[in-house]
Symmetry: C2
Subunit: 261 residues, 2 copies
């Protein structure tokens, strides 16, 4: 499906105005059915839909391993996906899903506000070092890929990279979807995430950190700002968080020695 | 509560680096309890929390009238709010909540993907005209208010305005929250929304349009891009949608005659 389309708009500047055909980004409702039950409708850019669904199921802790998937089938003009899984943890998940704990100290730490997230995120075990020049180079390559943003101004980009190059790249109207798409691409190949990096154009909130942490990815880099809670979680999980990575500038929020000068 | 705080960061530029105290935007988990049941945890900037909760309940169709609220009480260091409502529509809402329809033509049109949204949005009955110079002037005033964005780069802004001036203004880490905050501010005063405008810094997705439509607000303006689905919904609801409003430029996506030259 097309991720953009032309629509007629009235373009104004000062006293002048003209009707033109302009490109706008497509927003597509995409519904996941899990074991024949309607799970969620994600509003997204309609590409990499299988990857998006897979990334979402891992992110939300419905599955932990690709082997749990028995069937994935896109249906109804890409409006739905039917997924069958071996749902061994269903009772536990149903118990905690949507139940947010607001008390501190729910198990291992104080920044998590959801029991499922807290239990399923793991501290980074393999420390990874990165040179600032590598960050500059990767972000340059990353920005050059963002064609849809240049055309429509309506999307966020995300990439999964090694220290050498970008491996997967995705754009979406939602920054969480873009992240789930590149993570889902990795899951499809059963990729080792523990020596990879996440690059994003969007702000880094706690949810972005939790998605990254669930895969054991040691470094996340954005051209935008992080929130305080994302920084707290990064410290707890040992993930190196870099923000405002623009040109040869960047802010490093934790793990200062991980950046190798 | 503070919406920003200082944290120690390592600031890099080219070969130089220094440890500094920098301002980051606070992300705050805020849980709404409705009639003693845990409803949702919103990740937000911790100000205007009562307005946020109220705006959210209207947006999600839990209430239709301020008179339905019997009690609102912020608790636990602003981490929770307890709200009691006369829950007359509960059965209907429980039936449809989270049930997204993916078939077309669910009642009145094809753009809505949720039955509750479709039933509770109303077509604009009172047409409103606006002069481009008014848009330029309001957006200038709006941009000048955005102090937290200038300090942290981590928030979106939203305002509720008349054609004369900005009435309510809010900033939040989430653009949906910022919108719910200004709408909630309006609900608290039982404001007539049908001659007001929404201003936003963020992208206009279908959800932003639905929130606006639910209040009968005839015009929404953003400095960013809209999605295709937001434009479709704007056309169906009769809401004038203006995007990329920057300086003396703007794009008008529908209702072309509503802009009065």
């Amino acid at each position: 499906m097309e991720v953009k389309k032309y629509m007629e708009i009235l373009k104004l500047q000062g006293q002048s105005n003209k009707l033109i055909q302009d490109q706008v980004v497509v927003e597509h409702p995409f519904t996941i059915f899990l074991n024949q039950e309607e799970l969620v409708t994600i509003l997204c850019s309609p590409d990499l839909l299988k990857e998006l669904a897979l990334g979402f199921l891992f992110s939300e802790n419905y599955i932990e391993d690709l082997g749990e998937i028995e069937k994935m089938e896109i249906g109804q003009g890409s409006k739905t996906i039917n997924i069958r899984i071996k749902d061994k943890n269903r009772d536990l998940r149903d118990k905690y899903r949507g139940r947010r704990t607001i008390t501190s100290g729910c198990g291992k730490n104080t920044s998590f506000y959801n029991i499922v997230d807290s239990k399923s995120s793991k501290k980074i075990s393999k420390k990874m070092y990165i040179k600032p020049m590598v960050v500059v180079q990767l972000m340059k390559e990353f920005n050059n890929l963002s064609v849809l943003f240049k055309e429509t101004g309506g999307v966020h980009s995300c990439a999964l990279a090694s220290t050498e190059k970008i491996i997967f790249y995705a754009e979406d109207i939602g920054r969480h979807n873009a992240l789930d798409k590149v993570l889902g691409s990795g899951h499809l190949l059963d990729l080792d995430f523990t020596d990879k990096l996440v690059l994003s154009t969007g702000r880094i909130s706690s949810e972005m950190l939790i998605k990254t942490g669930r895969r054991g990815i040691p470094i996340i880099i954005s051209r935008s700002a992080p929130t305080s809670l994302a920084i707290d979680l990064a410290k707890e999980l040992g993930i190196t968080l870099i923000g405002f990575a623009r040109g040869d500038k960047m802010n490093i929020y934790n793990n200062f020695p991980s950046v190798d000068f």
